[in-house]
Structures are given as structure tokens and as C-alpha cells.
């Protein structure tokens, strides 16, 4: 099976996932701008994080005091190393105390700082939550990530703010993405995979907040911390060991240089992992959604196998991405460790020589580690951003995708259709590759009037549905114009058009909710009587009343609560509830028996008194009583008129089409199980 062999997997809309460095920068900028929507939360987080930087600065110095003055009981001022200015109040306070008294004061100060800032207790964060080994499961955690370098009260508040901040940023983006996906044009819907869309909304959007933070908070605080550490090193040890300062500072560019060349590889690996995850979701979604068909066709093993293969692939790709990140981390650690050993050598030399105390060593090495940690973080920083960029690109792809024109209805839009609809020289060809740009409709000139029941008839594949799709503006003509009354609808927003035209699809798609909810989808303000009237017209009211819960019966997902014919009539009822001037029905009687069909057609006739009712059908029984019939073949209107007059024309193609069907009805009986025509030509007539 070649499933999963290409980097694009199932993608047919999003087919070019490569990201150049310029594009990556652009995506980073766009993500960053999302912060504009959360100024309050962001400022609070920033302030608290800033506040939390300062208490830990005390630690190395107080630690030095503990080691030198308390444990080793040396008096103050032994070496040339100066304490930084912020230690002065403390030093004044403990001047002249005995070692144990100094320790007591230190413990008291620590206790207070512990409660407020969680000093020495480490940061806060909801670690320990289950994290799987693939991109999807890790993303869900990322959605509500948040923590603090501080602990204690400040840490608690900061964590609360941080989690909300992350969630808000991600939620805005995922709502935007979902909205865009709901407005994709019809032609794209054919190619767009539902599972892939679910994956993008649920598992790709959570990567965005991390970009925002990595472009704002993280570098700011990392650099701030590094600068403070460097300043302190310089202040206290600059005279004694100036080269230490420079080594620490040089770590930052080194770490960046080591990791930057691998950016595009990082992007590719992550994109690949996500696309594979989306492909797995596709298989899962399609299989679960259509489980009735899968079981009927005996495809369970096939579906399981398809899922298994894709799942293995997505795991593998994720593993590669993880390995790559690990390799980068190792490289970074080695750089830091190498320099660290060098620094430790320098410092211990000085301690051995008596220029610094053992306490100084702890301070210095502590400072060095924090700078080294910053350098490592900054080096990994760019690489981590690349993995987020890969996810974010997938999100912005659909945010940017041209959707239907969803401006709200405005004054320019027609309020109603009073006279009818007109097609002038309309042609249509599919915009894309797979149908080869073939012209599906050519030179359509048509006038449809309110008060008519019009039938569109023709052989399969003639373009009937395409023509019908032009009415609610699911498709826009490639050339020619469509007029509602006298207004060209090319500039009218689709929302306004669809307020006037109802389309009932041939595929009966019902929500797995109550019947009432299904009907209200079409018209949320319909009252009970309107619902019942629509059901009655569609011929499904008697059945609904026979159900114990009536309109509130829940339709199950696999659709076995209703037979196909009942589903069809319910969909028609839903269309009628909208009560628009124009209604289009695509094959409304395909699954109905003749009696039900007759009743429906009569009802539609009555409904057509104040509407334009357009019906696409194959069956003579449905079509015969239309006010006007449009016969289409090969994308052109071949003939129009009403049934009786067309039947009287000698060489009418419509007549040929119809007599063929009726001659089939009166076929002679033959010994074979099925009917069999002796002559292949369809031109036989009785």
C-alpha cells in the first residue's frame, strides 16, 4: 500500500507544505501579532514574571554567606570580592551577629520568601499530566500550558494568569480557523478531508501560544536574567577574573550558530509528523462515521489495517522529529559543559591560590550556570520555534484560503425574488485539475418564474446538479450572468442569496440530534405549527407522530432510526421549513415508492403557488406534471417546454428519452431472470 509514502499524505488542498525561511519569519510575525488581543493578561503575566526574577538573585550571595560566614565561620571581608549593592541592607543587619544568629535570620528571610515567591522551591506548573508519544496528544497539553518560575503566592497567581493567557490565544485562533473551514467553497469541500480539519483545529492550533511566548517573554527574561548575571559577575569578580564574564557572554552566539543551520530540517520533520497524524485521523474519522456501510460491505479488517499502517507511520515520523530535537539538545549541552569545565578550572585555580573563597565558587558557578542555561535555551529556541512554525503554517493555510464571500447581507442585496430568475449565456467549468477543466455547462439561457414548478431532466452526468448549484451560489458562473428579478447576483453576498434560495441535497445528511433540532437548523425561529406543516407537506408527519417521542426523537448516527425514504422526506421537510421564495430539490423522489412520490409532487405543486420550485429528477412520474421541463444533455439545454407539447413533437429528444423509459416499463417477459433488451439501440419506441 502506498498510503503514507509521500510527505503530503492525504492532502489534496494543502499540497505544498514546504516553508522557506522568509515564510517562517512571516508566520512567526503573524503569530506574534495575536498578542494584541490579550493585552491585560499579557501585561499581568509579564509583570509577575519580572517580579519573580529578583528574589532568586539573592540566593547565590546568601549561599556564600552561609558557606563562608556561618559554616566556615570566617569573618566578613576576607577577599577582594565585593557583595553587590542589594546585599547591603542584609549585611548591615547581620553585622556583628554570631554565626548561628546569622543563620537564624537567613532562615526567617527564606521562610517569608518561600511563602510569597516559593524561593528555592522551584517553579509552578501542572506537570505530571499524561503526555503521549505523538504530536496530537502533546498538543492538547500545550493548549493549557502555563506556569511560573516562582512558587508560592506569586507563582500561583502567575500560573493562573498564564494558563488563561495561553488558552485565550489558542482559542481565538482555533475559532477563527473553524469559522474559515465552515465557509470553504463547495469545490474545495470535495477535496478537503474532515479528519484533517479536525486535526488542524484541535492539534495544530495549540502550538501558537508557544510562539507568542517564545517571541516575547522567553527571550526577554532569558536575556534579562543573563544580563543581570553578567553584571553581577562583572561587579563582584570583574577585577578578579574578567575573562569569566566574556566566556559566559560568548556562549549565547555559539549556541545559536550551532543550531540555526538545521532550521529547515526541523520544519520538515515536524510538518511531516503532523501530516501523518492528520492522515491517521482521516482514516479513523471516515471509518467511524460510515460504520454502517463498512460493516455492510465487510470492510472491518480493511479499515483496521488502513488505520494501523497510518498510525505506525505517524508514530515513526514523530520519533524522527524527537530524535532530531534530542541531537540539538546534546550539541547544546556539550557546548555549555565544555565551557563550564573551563570556567570551573579558572575559578578553582583562584580558590586554591586564595584569591577567592569556596563561597565565591558557589556564587560564581551559580551565575555561570544561569547564563549557560540561558545560552542553551536561546540556541534551542530557534529550533523549537521551527516545530511550532510547522504546525502554525497548517493553521494559517486555511485561515488564508479564499472562502466564500461572507459579508453580511447589506442594502445592495435583494430582499426577495418577486418575478423570477434568469440565466444569460451562462457557462461553468470546474476550476481545478482533476476534471481537466472540462466545461460542464455551456451557453445556458433560461428564464424561471415564481409560481412555476420546473423540472430539470437529462441523462446522468449531463450537468443538472451543476446548473442547480448556481442558484444558491454554491458555484459562480465562469461566464455569463444570473439575475434575480433584474439584479445581477454576481456582487451579492452568498448569505443574502441563500436567504432566498433553499437547496435540498440528494444525499440525506441529518444531524444526530432530535428531529426538531434538524428542522430548526434550517429556521431557528420556526414555531411548532410551521414545523408540523412542513412535515405534512413532505409526507413524513404521520410517521413522526407514530414515534413515541414525536418531533423530539433523536436520530441515531448510523441512521437506522429512519429508513432512507423517511430520511429523504425529512430533508425535504427541512427545506420547506425555511420558507424561501426559491426552493431546489435534487432527486427528491429517488427512494420513494410511487404513491408517496405522487403525494409529494402534488404537495410541491401546491407549494409552488407562491414559489419557484425547481426539481431535478430522472423519473418520468416526478417530471410529468411539472409546469415546465428543461431537458439537458452534455451541459446544454436541448429542449424546454411542458410535457404534453414536447411529447407531440416528432423528433423531440425529450420524447425519445421518455418513451425509452416507458417502453422499459412495459417490457416483454423473457426467460432470463432479468429483463434483457434484444437490440442494444435505445431508439426503440412503441
Amino acid at each position: 500500500m502506498s498510503d503514507g509514502a509521500t510527505a503530503q499524505f492525504d492532502d489534496r488542498v494543502d499540497v505544498d507544505p514546504a516553508i522557506s525561511s522568509m515564510e517562517a519569519l512571516g508566520l512567526l510575525w503573524r503569530s506574534f501579532k495575536l498578542l494584541r488581543g490579550v493585552p491585560g493578561l499579557f501585561a499581568s503575566k509579564f509583570a509577575l514574571a519580572l517580579l519573580g526574577i529578583f528574589p532568586p538573585l539573592l540566593l547565590p550571595w546568601v549561599g556564600k554567606v552561609i558557606v563562608d560566614q556561618v559554616l566556615l565561620q570566617r569573618p566578613f571581608g576576607g577577599t577582594e570580592v565585593r557583595f553587590p549593592p542589594f546585599m547591603t541592607p542584609f549585611l548591615n543587619y547581620v553585622a556583628g551577629m554570631s554565626p548561628i544568629e546569622i543563620m537564624g535570620s537567613i532562615v526567617a528571610i527564606y521562610a517569608v520568601l518561600l511563602l510569597i515567591f516559593g524561593l528555592r522551591a522551584g517553579g509552578t506548573g501542572a506537570g505530571g499530566l499524561t503526555q503521549g508519544q505523538d504530536a496530537a496528544t502533546q498538543s492538547e497539553l500545550a493548549l493549557s500550558a502555563g506556569g511560573s518560575r516562582s512558587g508560592g503566592l506569586v507563582g500561583l497567581v502567575e500560573t493562573m494568569i498564564n494558563i488563561r493567557l495561553t488558552q485565550t490565544i489558542a482559542n481565538r485562533l482555533r475559532t477563527l480557523l473553524f469559522r474559515r473551514l465552515s465557509h470553504l467553497p463547495m469545490t474545495t469541500l470535495d477535496d478537503n478531508r474532515i479528519g484533517d480539519s479536525v486535526y488542524r483545529v484541535m492539534y495544530d492550533t495549540p502550538q501558537v501560544p508557544q510562539i507568542c511566548f517564545n517571541l516575547s517573554l522567553t527571550p526577554f527574561f532569558a536575556i534579562l536574567g543573563a544580563m543581570i548575571s553578567l553584571y553581577l559577575m562583572q561587579y563582584s569578580y570583574g577585577q578578579v577574573a574578567p575573562e569569566l564574564v566574556w566566556i559566559a557572554a560568548a556562549l549565547v552566539p555559539v549556541a545559536i550558530v550551532v543550531t540555526v543551520p538545521f532550521s529547515s530540517l526541523a520544519r520538515r520533520l515536524n510538518q511531516s509528523s503532523r501530516a501523518a497524524g492528520a492522515a491517521t485521523t482521516n482514516a479513523l474519522e471516515e471509518s467511524m462515521e460510515n460504520i454502517a456501510a463498512v460493516q455492510s460491505l465487510g470492510g472491518m479488517t480493511l479499515e483496521k489495517e488502513r488505520f494501523r499502517v497510518r498510525s505506525v507511520e505517524s508514530f515513526k515520523r514523530h520519533r524522527h522529529a524527537v530524535l532530531f530535537t534530542q541531537a540539538m539538545v546534546v550539541a547544546g549541552i556539550l557546548c555549555t559543559a565544555g565551557a563550564g569545565i573551563y570556567v570551573a578550572t579558572l575559578v578553582t585555580d583562584r580558590v586554591i591560590a586564595g584569591e577567592m573563597t569556596p563561597g565565591d565558587y558557589s556564587v560564581l558557578f551559580g551565575l555561570y550556570l544561569s547564563v549557560g542555561g540561558t545560552a542553551l535555551a536561546i540556541g534551542m529556541y530557534w529550533i523549537n520555534l521551527q516545530s511550532n512554525v510547522a504546525a502554525v503554517r497548517r493553521v494559517f493555510f486555511f485561515v488564508d484560503y479564499p472562502v466564500e464571500d461572507v459579508r453580511s447581507a447589506d442594502l445592495a442585496a435583494p430582499a426577495s425574488v418577486k418575478r423570477g430568475i434568469r440565466f444569460t449565456d451562462v457557462s461553468y467549468q470546474y476550476p481545478d485539475r482533476s476534471t481537466g477543466g472540462r466545461k460542464v455547462l455551456s451557453d445556458i439561457n433560461l428564464k424561471l418564474s415564481i409560481g412555476e414548478l420546473v423540472a430539470i431532466v437529462g441523462p446522468t452526468g449531463a450537468g443538472k446538479t451543476t446548473l442547480a448549484y448556481l442558484l444558491p451560489a454554491f458555484l459562480r458562473p465562469s461566464s455569463g450572468q444570473v439575475y434575480f428579478d433584474d439584479q445581477n447576483i454576481v456582487d451579492v453576498p452568498v448569505n443574502a442569496i441563500r436567504d432566498l434560495v433553499t437547496y435540498v441535497f440528494q444525499e440525506h445528511v441529518l444531524l444526530s440530534a432530535s428531529i426538531r433540532a434538524n428542522l430548526l437548523l434550517a429556521n431557528p425561529v420556526a414555531i411548532e405549527d410551521e414545523l408540523r406543516a412542513a412535515c405534512a407537506t413532505a409526507g413524513v408527519l404521520a410517521f413522526i407522530d407514530s414515534l413515541p417521542d414525536g418531533l423530539d426523537t433523536v436520530i441515531g448516527r448510523s441512521g437506522d432510526t429512519l429508513s432512507v425514504g423517511q430520511q429523504q422526506r425529512l430533508c425535504i421537510a427541512r427545506g420547506l421549513v425555511r420558507n424561501t421564495p426559491v426552493i431546489v430539490l435534487d432527486e427528491p423522489t429517488a427512494a420513494l415508492d410511487p404513491e408517496t412520490e405522487n403525494a409529494l409532487v402534488s404537495a410541491l405543486h401546491n407549494a409552488a403557488a407562491e414559489k419557484l420550485v425547481l426539481v431535478i429528477a430522472h423519473r418520468l412520474s416526478t417530471v410529468r406534471r411539472a409546469d415546465r421541463i428543461i431537458f439537458i444533455a452534455d451541459g446544454r439545454i436541448v429542449e424546454t417546454g411542458d410535457h404534453a407539447s414536447m411529447m407531440q413533437r416528432e423528433d423531440s429528444p425529450y420524447r425519445r428519452f421518455v418513451t425509452l423509459q416507458s417502453s422499459a416499463s412495459e417490457a416483454r417477459r423473457l426467460p432470463l431472470p432479468f429483463m434483457c433488451l434484444m437490440t442494444p439501440s435505445p431508439m426503440q419506441s412503441t
Binding site: 493548549l143 508560592g152 494558563i163 483545529v201 573563597t357 440525506h508 437548523l521 429512519l562 418520468l620 422499459a664
Partner: protein, 649 residues
């Protein structure tokens, strides 16, 4: 579902946790070899780091920085001679004049050797750590994969009644998120807690050797911590359950909206759908927030208590160091010089107790996460615990090689307490065509669903060659009965793969032959990539007639003894219908064929017609016989069809 949540919250006990963890065993077992290897690597490196850290601490702080002489074993490890142990009388700077210490040059040498070891250690551990990490990821992915596939397989075979009541997004959520919890069972429920507890215990023992008071302090602080645990555990579990439920609902919402998007578009209901999405999203976010804050609260509480103990300990230890009291570590003098409280001892003890405190907080976080893990695991097992409604008997036989007859005997079926079929008696013999006719909703498709064993009848049975379906192997049954569905379900694959769906390895020639029979070949050839053209989502790029012909081709290709055609020509125009049915006629000679249809032409030529009304077979027989019945339902039906189908008024 909230009842389930309550039950989850209440009844968690050690036995329950153990049983949940034990159920994960079958998925861990295939990877056992790898797991043991990984754990050994982990344990060994951990022990080495612990021991090495202790030695390095002493060496660095006491020997290098302060200048005390080496212990004998330390000198051996650094390849140094006795001169470092028994030093000449050079006083140690800044301390008691009676102490002798190493010279500056000696300290430098010790430092260099230690750093060489250090460098090697960093290099090796970095490499080992990365490889071990990759190894771990691989192992856990394989375990997760096995569980996912098992869940998927179970879901595929569950009855349609189950699927009716569940949402697709819930299945997606369980297979992804809930199944991922299994990767953490070993780590989070067994290894890490055990290791943390062992380390903490070791830490307490070590501290007791430094001073029994420290050990006592550790034990005393566990009391308030346990109280915190007991308070927070049920809270965390409840919020974990709710967080998973709401996120599953959100996934379902997205999937359902996108699956129905055309209808949503046509009804301008996008804003409704988006509102629902917003509500679900908000609920999910709030639930995630609550879960995390609960865990944070627990961890923070534990940490503050523990760090408080640390501060007390540090105060005490500082006092002891100042007065140079004795420790209990004198016996280990060859390795570490901690006989009395000194800088090194203080650092070690302080480090140990601080580490204990942090480990305690980590365990608290872990425990919080474990609650979530357990909830997720239960949700994953829920799917596995469902029994398929339709099962085969123990001694199930394969489908017979030659079909003779299919018989419904006294079959009755209710769906959701509504009677759908009653007293169905029907037999079809080889080489016959049975037309099933009736008004919509009369039970025609259900009759066939029972033959496919999508459901079992409530009463009576269906048999093949006299053997009831229950006695036949289910996969064998389904691969010998083919159906062309009324709804023409096509998948998002190539045309060829769609036609070959669930057939056993047909050749391209066979696929094309089936397409010719159903008159689909002609339009397939005109597609840009022919048989290799990819179809759109749910087969959407084709017209309904084209889909119908593909669906028929698929049924034909399977070449089964029993064929069911459910409204096979509803979307075909008359000409195409002629050709398709003519071809099927030839093909269907030695099989048993059922056709559900309204088309008189098809019905009239069937060997027998079953006329259904309100779930019963009211009339059964050939066309002429049924037409002869006065006031018969079938006759009425035919008359209506003829009138509607005739060209004249």
C-alpha cells in the same frame, strides 16, 4: 455520563488502580525485553550518578576548595599516590591550625583529574541519555499503537446500536488521547513513584546517619502532606473526567459540523454551528483550567510544607556544623570524610533533604497526573469492554461452498422498541431473483440487514442451506454476501480501490470487468486518471448515477453467491438502467439475488416478489399470481406505478 464521573471519583482504591494497571499488561508484554533493558540502563546510570555525586561532592568541596587530604579510595579513583592521603604538615588556610592539608599543586592536580572524569561523564551521559530517550519513545509508541489498534478493531465490530448512540468525535478522542495514557502507566503508576519513594527512603536513611533528628523531621512532615493528598485526589479525578469529556465533545462537534457542512451552508446555519463550537470550546478550556489548578494547588501545598521542613533542618545543621558535632558516618571514612559536621557534610545533607522535598513535590504532581491517567485509562478500556452484539457461536462453521437456499423463518425485529418486522417467512433458492417491494419504511432494507447480520432478529432465525446464521463464521458470512447500498457509500480512495473494497486481491482486469458489467467503465475511462483517479471526500466529485454504478461494480466484483441490490437504479436514467440490469442478468445466473426496488420493469421479471407492508410480507409470489389477487396491495402498487410511468395523461 455524570453518574460515571461520580462513580469514578468515589471508588478509587489501591486495588482498583492495580487492576487498571494490570489490564495494561497485555500491551506491555510484547515489549518486555525492551522495557527491561531500558529500565536497567536507567537504574544503573541512576545509581552511578548517585554514588558518583556523593564522591564528587566531597572531593570538590572539601578537598579542592578547602584543601583537606583525600580519602584512600578517592586517591585510587583518581590514580594518585599515597602522598595525597598522608600529607605533609601544611596547614589548611583559614581553619584550625592543627589540620594538615594538600599543597596548592596537589589540589590543582586533584581538580584536573576530577574534571577529566567529569568531562567524560558529561559526554557519556549526554549520549546515553539521548539514546535512552529515543529508545523509551519507541517502546511507548509501540505499546500505544497496540492499544489503538485493539480499540479500533473493537469499535469496528461493535453493533450499530452502539454506534447510533455514540459520536464519531468521541471515538477519535478515545483512540488518540485516552489511549495515550497507557504509555504512562508503567512510568507514572509504577516506576517513578517507586523510584521516588526509594530515593526518598534512601535519603531519610542517609539523613538519619547524619543525625536521627533529621530522619524524624522527615517522617513528621509526611503527616500534613498525606492529609493534603486525601483532600485533593477526588477533586482532581472529577476535574480530569470532566476535562476529557468536554474535549471529546468538542472534537465531536467539529467533526459533525464539518460532515454536515453542505447542509449547514445551504441553510445559512453557519452562525448556529459556530456558536455551538464556541460553547463547547469554552467548556473544554474551563475544564482544563480547573484540572491544572487543582494539581498546582496540591503540589504547591506539599512543597511549602516540605520546604518548611528543609529550612528547619538547615538551621539545625548549621548549628551542628558550627559546633562540629559528630555524625554517624564515621564508619565510611575511607570513602567520604563526613565523620563530623563540615562543609561537605552540610552540603550533602542539605542537598539530600532539599532533594527529598522536591521529590515529594514531584510525587504530588505525579499523583495529580496519575488521577488523570486513571480516568483516561478507564475511558480507553470502556471501548474494549463493549461486547459486540452480534457474535458467532463457539463451533461456527465457514460459509458453505455451494449455496442452495436462504430462508427467513418466523423472523421478528424491533428497533428501539419499535416493531420493524414481524412474522417474516421467506425462502430464496439458487438461480432465483427475489424482488422486495413496499412503501418506504415498510422494512425492506432491514430485512436485508438481518441477512448481513448487522443485527440479530429478536425472534426466529435466518439460515443458509439450513444452517442458522449464528452458526456461521461472521467474517465468512460477510465475505459471501455482497450488497450495493442504497446510499452509494464511497470512500476517499481511488476508483479502483473503491471498487475493490473488501474484495480479496482482485486483479486490475477483474476490477475493470466488474465496472463494465455495471456500465461504469465508460465514464471511468473519461476521468483524468481513469481508474486511478482519487475521489473526493465521501465520493463527492461524481454524479449520483456514477456513484451508483461504482457501488454496483463493487458488489459485483466480490463475486459472492448471494447478492443484494438496494435500490440499484434509483439514480439512473432509463437507458443506463437498461444496460446495467441486462448485464447483471447474465452475471447473476447461478446466484441468489435480492433486489429492493420500485421499478416495475425489474420487479415484473423476478422469480418471486415479496410485498411488504408495515413490516409483514403481505403477499408473496410471482408477478402474474399477485396481480390476480383482487384488491391486493401489490396490484394497487403496480397500478400506481404504471399510471405514473406512462407518457400519456
Amino acid at each position: 455520563m455524570s453518574e460515571a464521573a461520580a462513580s469514578v471519583a468515589q471508588t478509587l482504591s489501591i486495588t482498583k488502580i492495580a487492576s487498571l494497571a494490570w489490564r495494561a499488561w497485555p500491551y506491555y508484554r510484547p515489549q518486555l525485553k525492551h522495557l527491561i533493558t531500558y529500565l536497567l540502563i536507567n537504574a544503573t546510570s541512576g545509581a552511578l550518578m548517585l554514588g558518583g555525586g556523593l564522591v564528587a561532592n566531597d572531593l570538590f568541596n572539601n578537598k579542592i576548595l578547602v584543601g583537606e587530604p583525600l580519602q584512600p579510595l578517592q586517591a585510587t579513583l583518581l590514580f594518585l599516590d599515597d602522598g595525597y592521603v598522608n600529607v605533609a604538615a601544611a596547614p589548611v588556610e583559614g581553619s584550625d591550625a592543627s589540620e594538615t592539608g594538600m599543597t596548592d599543586a596537589q589540589r590543582g592536580t586533584v581538580r584536573n583529574r576530577l574534571f577529566v572524569w567529569g568531562g567524560i561523564a558529561v559526554l557519556l551521559s549526554a549520549a546515553l541519555f539521548s539514546l535512552a530517550w529515543y529508545y523509551m519513545v519507541w517502546i511507548y509508541q509501540m505499546i500505544n499503537q497496540d492499544l489503538r489498534v485493539a480499540m479500533m478493531e473493537r469499535a469496528e465490530s461493535l453493533s450499530l446500536r452502539f454506534h447510533d448512540q455514540s459520536r464519531t468525535g468521541d471515538a477519535i478522542y478515545r483512540v488518540y488521547q485516552d489511549s495515550a495514557t497507557i504509555t504512562n502507566v508503567l512510568q507514572q503508576l509504577v516506576i517513578t513513584p517507586l523510584r521516588a519513594l526509594v530515593w526518598m527512603l534512601w535519603g531519610v536513611i542517609l539523613l538519619a546517619f547524619f543525625s536521627p533528628w533529621l530522619g524524624l523531621l522527615c517522617l513528621v512532615t509526611t503527616l500534613p502532606i498525606i492529609i493534603l493528598f486525601r483532600y485533593y485526589s477526588p477533586k482532581i479525578r472529577r476535574s480530569a473526567e470532566w476535562a476529557r469529556q468536554t474535549n471529546s465533545d468538542l472534537t465531536s462537534r467539529i467533526q459533525e459540523a464539518l460532515a454536515a457542512i453542505r447542509v449547514v451552508k445551504a441553510n445559512r446555519a453557519e452562525s448556529q454551528v459556530i456558536d455551538q463550537f464556541n460553547n463547547d470550546s469554552r467548556a473544554a478550556l474551563d475544564a482544563a483550567y480547573d484540572l491544572r489548578m487543582n494539581i498546582v494547588a496540591l503540589a504547591m501545598g506539599v512543597l511549602i510544607i516540605a520546604m518548611g521542613a528543609v529550612l528547619c533542618a538547615e538551621y539545625l545543621m548549621a548549628g551542628w556544623t558550627i559546633s562540629e558535632s559528630a555524625t554517624y558516618l564515621g564508619g565510611v571514612i575511607s570513602v567520604v570524610g563526613f565523620a563530623t559536621w563540615n562543609l561537605g557534610a552540610y552540603r550533602s545533607a542539605a542537598g539530600t533533604i532539599a532533594q527529598n522535598a522536591r521529590q515529594g513535590a514531584d510525587v504530588a504532581q505525579l499523583w495529580g497526573g496519575a488521577q488523570d491517567l486513571i480516568v483516561g485509562l478507564e475511558r480507553a478500556y470502556y471501548l474494549l469492554d463493549q461486547e459486540p452484539e452480534v457474535t458467532e457461536a463457539q463451533d461456527a462453521r465457514p460459509f458453505p461452498s455451494t449455496i442452495e437456499s436462504v430462508t427467513w423463518r418466523d423472523v421478528a425485529f424491533r428497533y428501539n422498541d419499535r416493531p420493524v418486522l414481524e412474522s417474516i417467512n421467506l425462502t430464496a433458492a439458487r438461480g432465483s431473483v427475489t424482488a422486495v417491494v413496499g412503501a418506504t419504511g415498510s422494512g425492506k432494507s432491514t430485512l436485508m440487514s438481518l441477512l448481513l447480520r448487522l443485527y440479530d432478529p429478536d425472534h426466529g432465525d435466518i439460515s443458509i442451506n439450513g444452517t442458522p446464521l449464528r452458526q456461521l463464521e461472521l467474517p465468512s458470512l460477510r465475505s459471501n454476501v455482497a450488497i450495493a447500498l442504497q446510499q452509494n457509500m464511497l470512500f476517499t480512495m481511488t476508483v479502483a480501490k473503491n471498487i475493490a473494497y473488501a474484495s480479496s486481491n482482485p486483479t486490475r482486469a477483474q476490477i475493470e470487468a466488474a465496472a463494465v458489467v455495471s456500465c461504469a467503465d465508460e465514464f471511468i475511462q473519461q476521468m483524468p486518471l481513469g481508474y486511478d483517479t482519487e475521489l473526493g471526500e465521501r465520493g463527492s466529485k461524481l454524479s449520483s448515477g456514477q456513484r451508483q454504478r461504482l457501488s454496483i461494480a463493487r458488489a459485483i466484483l466480490r463475486d459472492t453467491p448471494v447478492l443484494i441490490l438496494d435500490e440499484p437504479t434509483a439514480s439512473l436514467d432509463a437507458e443506463t438502467e437498461h444496460r446495467v440490469l441486462r448485464n447483471i442478468a447474465e452475471w447473476g445466473r447461478d446466484r441468489i439475488v435480492f433486489v429492493i426496488t420500485h421499478r416495475l420493469s425489474t420487479i415484473r421479471n423476478a422469480n418471486q416478489i415479496a410485498f411488504l407492508q408495515d413490516g409483514r410480507i403481505e403477499e408473496l409470489g410471482a408477478h402474474d399470481a399477485l396481480m390476480a389477487l383482487e384488491g391486493g396491495g401489490y396490484r394497487h402498487f403496480v397500478d400506481a406505478e404504471i399510471v405514473s410511468d406512462s407518457p400519456g395523461e
